[in-house]
């Protein structure tokens, strides 16, 4: 710590250069913080720990292909299955359709499989008892200004009613809350009664999009998956059963490999940052060769000079990274406001800070090493005489 004023003085020697370098570092770490939250958000989509005891069964060909309702009782009979429910994608539009949210028809017992979605018992019962009943997440209700008792019309994009109408009207009977902030994206869903949907739709009766299965023991997942898929083997509706996390992660993975995209962008950003700050440090040390020679003259060791220059580079990076990560937290909150709950961006927390600062330290050491080695190796008599 007693050398801190020396390091600080070196950084302030050319204030404009230091400020611009810090600006470039903070921009890189702002991007890092922001993109890392996006990557984490996408990872979290498939990472619901409370869903470890749930499986999803869809068509082996494509999750858009329907499965027969007859599978319901057969799956229920598989050893290790505690409960079975089902759902069908509806894809309705509300008003002009600009504010999209997922809408699905689900079985009456669907919410029994999701105890982590908190909803008063009376509302759960109302969903079971109301033919046109619908349940939404708290965020969606807030976003749309809905309350219990509202009638909500959705325009069908796939399933018209038997009479030809595309307008489906639902009664909002329940609003649920998800306490885990990382899973709050689930509050963006619109669920309604499958029985009403199946009776009224023009085609596709007796089929469902997917089955949701609750296990008696998560350790039996693999065996149960195989047993369920064996039910439809060699049929025209072969199935693929996997854990809910794997299913959701695969679903997200169909959009893009977020990890690869984020990694590629950050790789390019940090490569540029290394070149930029490396050049700045080299220039800064070159200008200070006589001063470093004075330090060595009065007794600073080679290692002390090496450490001083490395510390200067690391401090420069750490300042820029800290400001960048702080701003990333603010930016993530602002982005969250813009995108609503479609994707829940986790806050830039301790993990991102630790990772970011460790990265800053590593980059600092990389960019500071060559100039520091030059300072360490300088010959005093040459440096003092300007050679």
């Amino acid at each position: 710590m007693k050398y801190l004023h020396l390091i600080w003085a070196a950084l302030l020697r050319r204030k404009a250069r230091t400020v611009f370098t810090i600006l470039s570092v903070l921009t890189a770490f702002l991007l890092f913080g922001l993109l890392d939250t996006v990557r984490t958000a996408f990872n979290n989509v498939g990472g619901n720990v409370s869903g470890a005891d749930r499986l999803v069964t869809v068509s082996k060909i494509s999750f858009t292909m329907a499965l027969p309702m007859s599978l319901n009782t057969r799956i229920q009979a598989v050893p290790g299955v505690a409960a079975v429910s089902y759902a069908n994608w509806f894809g309705g539009q509300y008003q002009d359709g600009r504010d999209f949210f997922p809408s699905q028809a689900v079985a009456k017992n669907f919410f029994d499989l999701y105890p982590e979605w908190q909803m008063p018992a009376a509302q759960r019962k109302a969903f079971r008892d109301t033919r046109t009943g619908a349940v939404v997440g708290e965020n969606l209700a807030k976003r749309m200004g809905w309350k219990i008792g509202d009638k909500i019309p959705l325009q069908a994009t796939i399933f018209p009613q038997k009479g030809g109408s595309n307008t489906w009207v639902f009664d909002l009977v329940g609003i649920y809350h998800v306490s885990n902030p990382e899973q709050r994206g689930n509050e963006n869903n619109f669920w309604f009664n499958y029985d009403y949907f199946d009776e009224a739709r023009q085609f596709g009766q007796g089929s469902v999009g997917r089955y949701a299965i609750k296990l008696t023991d998560p350790k039996q997942a693999t065996a149960v998956e195989q047993a369920i898929d064996a039910l439809s083997a060699d049929s025209d509706h072969e199935t693929k059963t996997e854990t809910e996390q794997a299913f959701t992660a695969a679903l997200v993975g169909q959009f893009a490999d977020i990890g690869l995209i984020v990694g590629s962008i950050m790789g390019a950003v940090f490569f540029t940052l290394v070149l930029l700050t490396g050049n700045t440090m080299a220039q800064a040390v070159r200008e200070r060769i006589p001063e470093l020679a004075v330090l060595k003259t009065i007794g600073f060791s080679r290692r002390s000079v090496l450490t001083l220059v490395l510390a200067e580079a690391v401090l420069l990076l750490a300042i820029g990274a800290s400001i960048g990560l702080f701003l990333a937290g603010i930016a993530a909150a602002a982005v969250q406001t813009q995108i609503g709950t479609q994707l829940v961006l986790p806050p830039v927390g301790a993990t991102e800070w630790l990772r970011g600062l460790a990265l800053a330290a590593v980059i600092g050491i990389i960019v500071g090493f060559l100039p520091a080695r030059r300072g360490m190796r300088l010959r005093i008599v040459d440096a003092l005489s300007g050679r």
């Binding site: 003085a9 007794g299 600073f300 060791s301 008599v381």
Partner: protein, 231 residues
């Protein structure tokens, strides 16, 4: 007078590619404790090289240098750095202060290498600045000081860790006459009142008059007088 610096058969050869340049030839020299020696000679005579060798900034090609009984030609780079920190103060022609630090912080620099507390470092720096009559300029940066004041700060930095030996390379070379006299008088006081041994390189015969004795170097060899070097 006890001998502080004992130089025997000292030679220094610089290599530039294939070419060898012998700058000092078989120098023998004794400098007593509390002596004040001026080193004079034409440019390229080896004055600064000899001074650097005495101060432990460079290593001889041949011969020995013992300072206070320590054979510094045997020390490695880090050991030499430690030795310099404890035993030698340096004063340069162009002051070589760190421009971003105040006078006090500059003077404190050698004390950073000690185990002294911040308060103790501050106290010692204040004493050194008082010795060079710059107490009131302690919080000024070098750019806010005159050349003479900067050189006095450099002298304060050189003496703050209380070394026995001061090596000064043209300490008045960048100063006007009045500032030069002030600096030389200060050095004389340090020599007389505090017993510092001073070895000073200078081109200025008037500066050399402040020393107890003047040594003349010519073509890397000590000569008895400037006339001899001219001959």
């Amino acid at each position: 007078m006890r001998t502080l610096v004992e130089i025997r058969n000292l030679s220094k050869v610089y290599s530039r590619g294939q070419q060898k340049l012998e700058v000092l030839h078989h120098i023998d020299l004794d400098i007593g404790a509390s002596d004040f020696v001026a080193l004079m000679g034409p440019s390229g005579s080896g004055k600064t090289t000899l001074l650097n060798l005495i101060g432990g900034l460079d290593s001889p090609t041949d011969g020995t240098i013992a300072v206070g009984g320590e054979h510094i030609e045997r020390l490695g780079e880090d050991a030499l750095a430690k030795w310099r920190a404890a035993n030698v103060g340096f004063v340069f022609q162009f002051y070589n202060l760190l421009p971003m630090l105040t006078a006090r912080r500059n003077v404190e620099l050698p004390l950073l290498l000690t185990r002294l507390s911040a308060a103790e470092r501050r106290r010692k720096a204040a004493i050194a600045l008082e010795l060079v009559s710059l107490t009131e300029r302690a919080e000024h940066k070098p750019s806010e000081l005159s050349g003479g004041q900067q050189q006095r700060v450099a002298i304060a930095r050189a003496i703050v860790s209380d070394p026995q030996l001061l090596v000064c390379d043209e300490p008045t070379g960048d100063l006007d006459r009045q500032s030069a006299v002030e600096v030389l008088t200060l050095m004389q006081d340090l020599n007389r009142d505090h017993g510092k041994t001073i070895v000073m390189v200078t081109h200025d015969p008037k500066a050399a008059e402040f020393a107890h004795r003047t040594l003349h170097l010519d073509k890397g060899t000590l000569v008895d007088s400037p006339e001899q070097s001219a001959a």
